[in-house]
Symmetry: C2
Subunit: 452 residues, 2 copies
Amino acid sequence: MDENLDRKVDSIREIFESGDLPRLGGSLEGLRVPDAAEVLTALPAEIRVPLFKSMEQEMASEVLTFVDEGIARALLELLTVDEMASLIDPMASDDATDIINLLNADNAGAVLRRISREDYEHVSELLKFDEESAGGLMDRELVTVRAGKSISDVIAKLRSGLANIEQIQNIYVIDSQSVLLGTIPLINLLVTDPGKKVEEVMERDILTVTADTDQEEVAAIFSKYDLYSIPVVDENGRLAGRITVDDIIDVIEEEATEDISMMAGTGEEEFYERSPVKLSRARLPWLLTGLFGGIASAMMMNNFQESLESVLTLAFFVPVITAMGGNVGIQSSAIVVRELALGGLSVSQTGGKLLRELKVSIINGIVIGTVLLLIVTIWQKDFRLGILLGICIFIIICWATIMGAFIPLMLKKAKIDPALATGPFITTFNDILGIAIYLGIATVFLEWLGKG
Amino acid sequence: MDENLDRKVDSIREIFESGDLPRLGGSLEGLRVPDAAEVLTALPAEIRVPLFKSMEQEMASEVLTFVDEGIARALLELLTVDEMASLIDPMASDDATDIINLLNADNAGAVLRRISREDYEHVSELLKFDEESAGGLMDRELVTVRAGKSISDVIAKLRSGLANIEQIQNIYVIDSQSVLLGTIPLINLLVTDPGKKVEEVMERDILTVTADTDQEEVAAIFSKYDLYSIPVVDENGRLAGRITVDDIIDVIEEEATEDISMMAGTGEEEFYERSPVKLSRARLPWLLTGLFGGIASAMMMNNFQESLESVLTLAFFVPVITAMGGNVGIQSSAIVVRELALGGLSVSQTGGKLLRELKVSIINGIVIGTVLLLIVTIWQKDFRLGILLGICIFIIICWATIMGAFIPLMLKKAKIDPALATGPFITTFNDILGIAIYLGIATVFLEWLGKG
């Protein structure tokens, strides 16, 4: 948060503490909406609520679309249904839909009955879609024009109805059945002879998505083709809405955050959360996974008690085994997950990908195995122990690398989020297996080690 | 990659194998540029090179801006300086700059002397900036208009000079010193009386960045304010260029990939790489870090040889200690790093953040400590060992959580990439320290454990 906003937060706090509540109302004046939302978020709830209630309706409506879901929900809960409706009415259809999605069914129904008829139609259409699909991202504030019209007709339409369409990139040309025929970038309206028909000017080779397209796929299309917006069509090619790039940026950040959360084992939606109890509740399941994995490792070591009693030194290298198995597993799984997320890897390339990881793991296994062999031989003055550890780490590196790549690919094939295969799961899995491989091999060769 | 492109790759491979090289030239016709770039990337180098050389110049120029740096560099190396110049000349200034940055100094200089004078001025200006700054992202294809002009003057200018400006969002209004006064969104040109002066129509409250602004900060501004483009100005407010949202999407994906690579310890720019040797070279330094950390852990255990000999069971729980210390460290460091990356956390909030993590770690420590106490007591039928492990894990969880949050915040303060504190470094650090704390405490209480 920048310093000016920090200072604004402090000054609002002072106004509140001085008890001069009427002054609260104007305290966010002159700020841009996203800044006002940030200040509101940074304030404690006991100041946030009276401040929000004292805001002008237009500002309050806009700010509501910029704060986090949790805060928006808490603020909405304090309003009457009429107040909710008057804040939601001026919003763009996608924002209105997102906000109505935060309400309980009763309130949502009541608000829908109170907003304007056109908004009602737009929003109730959008409410049907999964929030993580193209339908959940799109808005219905489109400028359309029928084929047969002229450029000057389009300009006249824009002049009459600009009202609440803020980000216009393209004009959509449709036929009488609303089937999308083409698009006209705004700039072309300015530089083309106004008498021309829209079909003469429009671009026909257009990318579209359908409402059920997953948001990650939509984001990949924006990223690949450098788009600013994309039309959404139904199965018959009829125009249903459009998605703008600002919402795609949110999707990309969200998906990256989700992948990072999975890797770190923190549960979703933890960022910006303040309550230690909630944070702890999000993280604990993953820690318990790790704990039970650790206990399983301990039991595994218990099975090899005799070997460990005769060669205690074997125990010293358990942290090496778990660290290496964990590290290589995370490396290959993270790369596969990220490649899948960015759309650069399709499931059909599975075989090639696994082969590549096998080759990488063989090189890494040889290098790390040799280094470990040398260190152990010199440190412990025991060439046989060095050989044993070198071979074990080689096997574990190959195995853990392949598993790290294989598991997310299988999850993707089964249509489960491949990011599950990163983080605590893969580490725990590799820990247990690594210890079993290591102590198993060591036990077989205990006599050769000269200590059986 | 989608199936159509997969099939295209196969058919080009067949053409190549049949030896019908003249047919290669037309094989990418009808594809969109990003698709052509994807097909080119998917082909092996021995087909990619003749295919690229047989492409029409316009297509080749565009494709070059869409392929990965490594591939672009390899293709450029096969061209003469004249060929390079004719591919670079038609590019937008930011793309041209990126490509010239791939060349060695001799070739770059030679190409600069061969491109048009205007391009030369633009590009040599842009070459000065750090690639990861606003200056490195911006292009100089701006539509500007002097204050005092009318809307119809602007439209006339657009009609005359549309040429190679593809994504126009705004017209920039400047004074005689090139100082940016305001912007006019394209739509306003269409709906405003053409006789009006630009100052009457322009928006004066505009966000700008300077050329030295870090790209991550620029991305945070786009994300926060839902921008499609932003003007770049110098310290005197003179307009220097503009950044468009398509480049920002690349930045956001790049930065997320970087953070994920850091967490996974894979080195940068590994995605899409195919050579096992290169992949291995990128991953090995991180693995060696982990290996030496593991050896340090082994030496740490060696120090406590006597304690381990008298109570071998202590060794069984080393994987529990390292797993938990690693997990909580990654959780808190990943969250802090991500919050810093998304701009939601400023260094001034360090104290509050650490306090919050301390609270979370106390809750997690109590829960995990209690569960471990119970499991150990029941499994090993040893209440004292249970107590010891419960207390040790509590201390280690608190310590590792705080370190996980503290280290990236310190790195950020020292202007080092905080993402360094995720992944192998933090895990290794916590492994060694966790074992030291655990075996240290156990040794002190060895007598109490009844086995000293």
